[in-house]
């Protein structure tokens, strides 16, 4: 008989990823011997393109099979019983589409049916979600007429239909304007109270603001995992700013890891990472972005 678990607010879940690999061809790995344990809270995934973030998220979301390794959700192997997670999963893929001939209500009802939720409360729940993502006014228009940002908001609403306990957001803030991004960050913080939220973004400041823990990935490997402060620690006292003459900039960039370059008339103000800075350099407080660029260089 299958184990049925009631995921109440007090329940602490655990997603245990052990030696996970995804091989695309003879030489190319999407993930390579990746291990991590994820518990309630927000895990921010950071890494350059091709680091394996989306591959990891797809495998956790059960739409991709690993070549080797296991994912245990509260001890249950997801490759053997993917439906365990599907009932409580909210997933926003990076590159998703919609059915253009359906309106927002119809589309969300369809996705709700996929997730196995319904009943008398479904319609009011959809209405509240559409209000929350500011689409209620256009909810009866075909989604094909929506702009990119509006489609992204429909994507966010669908992820929350089933009161998810595992939430996976792959680049969720793409296409959102600054106000929407702030609202979305608040929403994620609310979600994380009793769920596992896995979030990837290229906007390091988004991750820095909301993630409880950060996993840094590169070429399918996990290179750092921990609290943001722990990761920032790797570049503490190594971040400086100096004014560099425009003729010397190329040589400077070849010697140091420049994380930001700002033009100042004939010179450049360069923020860089170095063990030993040049003369007259100003020491700066390190950020997660500095650590990210340093560790993934």
């Amino acid at each position: 008989m299958k184990r049925i678990k009631n995921y109440t607010n007090e329940y602490s879940m655990q997603l245990e990823i052990k030696n996970l690999s995804k091989k695309f061809n003879k030489d190319k790995y999407g993930l390579n011997d990746f291990s991590i344990t994820i518990e309630n809270g927000i895990l921010g995934l950071l890494g350059p393109n091709g680091a394996g973030k989306s591959t990891l998220m797809k495998i956790i979301a059960t739409i991709s099979q690993p070549t080797s390794g296991t994912i245990l959700f509260d001890g249950v192997d997801l490759s053997k019983d993917p439906n365990v997670i599907r009932k409580i999963l909210g997933y926003l893929p990076q590159d998703f589409g919609v059915y253009p001939n359906l309106n927002a209500f119809e589309f969300l009802e369809y996705i709700a049916a996929m997730k196995g939720v319904g009943g008398a409360n479904l319609r009011p729940r959809i209405e509240e979600l559409l209000e929350g993502v500011n689409l209620i006014e256009v909810a009866k228009k075909p989604i094909g007429t929506y702009s990119g940002g509006m489609k992204q908001r429909i994507g966010i609403a669908q992820a929350l239909l089933n009161n998810p306990k595992i939430v996976i957001f792959d680049e969720p803030t793409v296409g959102l304007d600054p106000e929407e991004r702030v609202r979305f960050r608040n929403l994620i913080s609310d979600l994380a109270n009793d769920s596992i939220v896995i979030l990837s973004s290229h906007i390091v400041s988004d991750i820095e603001t909301i993630a409880d823990k950060v996993a840094l990935m590169k070429k399918g490997h996990l290179i750092q995992h921990g609290f943001p402060d722990f990761i920032i620690e790797t570049v503490r006292d190594k971040v400086f700013e100096s004014v560099i003459d425009s003729t010397a900039l190329t040589a400077f960039k070849a010697k140091f890891l420049a994380v930001n370059v700002t033009r100042k008339k004939d010179n450049f103000l360069v923020r860089y990472i170095a063990e030993v800075p040049i003369n007259n350099a100003i020491s700066c407080p390190a950020s997660l972005e500095d650590a990210y660029l340093y560790l993934t260089k």
Binding site: G116, G118, E131, E179, L187
Partner: protein, 520 residues
Amino acid sequence: MTSLKNIIRADYLQRTRSYAFLVTLLASIVIAYTFIPTPTSSYSTLRIGNYVGYSNAAWIGHNTAIMASVFLWLIGFYLVNDGIKKDKETGVGQIIATTAISNFKYLLAKALSNFFVLLTITIIIILMSFSLVLIRGTGYPINLLQFILPYLFITIPSIFCVSALAVFAEIILGRNVIIQNVAFFFLFPVLIGILNLNNNSKIFWFDVLGTKYVSDELISLVNHQFKENIITVSSGYLFGNNNSIKYFLFEGTNWSIIYIVSRFLWIGIAFIILFISAKIFNRFDFKEKLDIKKKRAKKIELQVPNNVKQIQLSQLPVATPTFGIWPFVKTELLMLIRMGPKWFWFINFGGFIALFFVPINSAHQIVLPVLWFIQINRWADIATKEKINRTHYFTYAAYQPLKRLLTAQMIAGVILSLSLASPLIFRYALNGNFQSVYNIIQGSIFIIALSVFTGILSGGKRFFEVVFFLLTYCNVSLIPILDYFGGINHGYIYSIIIMFINITLIIGAFVSRYHEIRNQ
């Protein structure tokens, strides 16, 4: 010239590097093999009265070139009529529109890419036919010239014309794929009809397929050799009367200059078609040109007010678990119905009414398959829309996507196909002919199972569209072996065979979707 070559090359590679194209090539080998039946086969493919040629290189070359010309017109259009659509869907079109390439050059590149795709299939057919010359040759010397010239004069200009026509159709009916498919379905019999006009020896000027001239040559030869008065050549899969077949020696066609000029003329017409297409091509600025659709296509953009209600997750009404499939069936049906232009339902309604009043045999053999065929885009969409609309990340991560969603998609498809056939079902039921009712139900299931299976297997709509077009064309031509809905066959054994085919297709669909879900 180099840039044109590079565009054609990239486009050709993009189209041919697909599993669907590989399947098409394999299917072409099988079909080419059937072009030359063995002496014990129950059918023939080219017959002048009761006469067929000895299987020498000239006969096999002519026979297969004629069949290839007809076959590649029949399926070629459906194989290649999405080159511009792909550019639009992928956004590449927007990039192309900003480059210096002229409309004519772009469309010529598309037409030539279409042509090379069809030429690849032609080469496969030629190779298969030549191996048949070696295997089934009847001992006469191999006349290579008379083997290859029919391809050069009949097939190649023919596929060039259909390549250009596909581009033209995309330009004028780009947004209406349904209309494109249906228009071609009705155009093809007109072209074939021209071949059967036998009272004018100069008719080959109007024959884009290029087969009329050779047919007339064959008739003259047989009439002269055997003192017959035959007036038509039959081509296609011709069943029956095989016991009365007589053989004659065919050594090739005397290719007249006028005929060759007519073939060049058709190539010229193809260029004119491309030139006209270039004049009306809107360079992917669809919204500007299509005023009727302008309102609908206008994107909505909402400003975010400051007082938008924040989502309070803990305050949201709690939806209850329900794992039934009927909400899926409802939405799938809704999507099927909403596909294509609304006015198209007037045509469907016309077909629906015709099923009530047309004599029952014609209703079953002609109206029903045509009514089902004109829904081709709906059927093709059933199991491919997830990938096309990129919603598969949602659907494959759904709870029991195989058992619930795929089943619901098939049920919705069958409900629609049966609803369209319902007047005929009603008439048969009134007559107490439940065998035919059963056959139509099996036919409905067959269309859906075939579309789902081929859609998942090939990863797109194209393969199903080609197969379904061929099936429908053969069915309205009353070819018994391909009758999947009991229009001609009424025996119990036949019904059982169709049922087993349906079960196999359904199992195949579930197995392929299972693998698709697990191997993203």
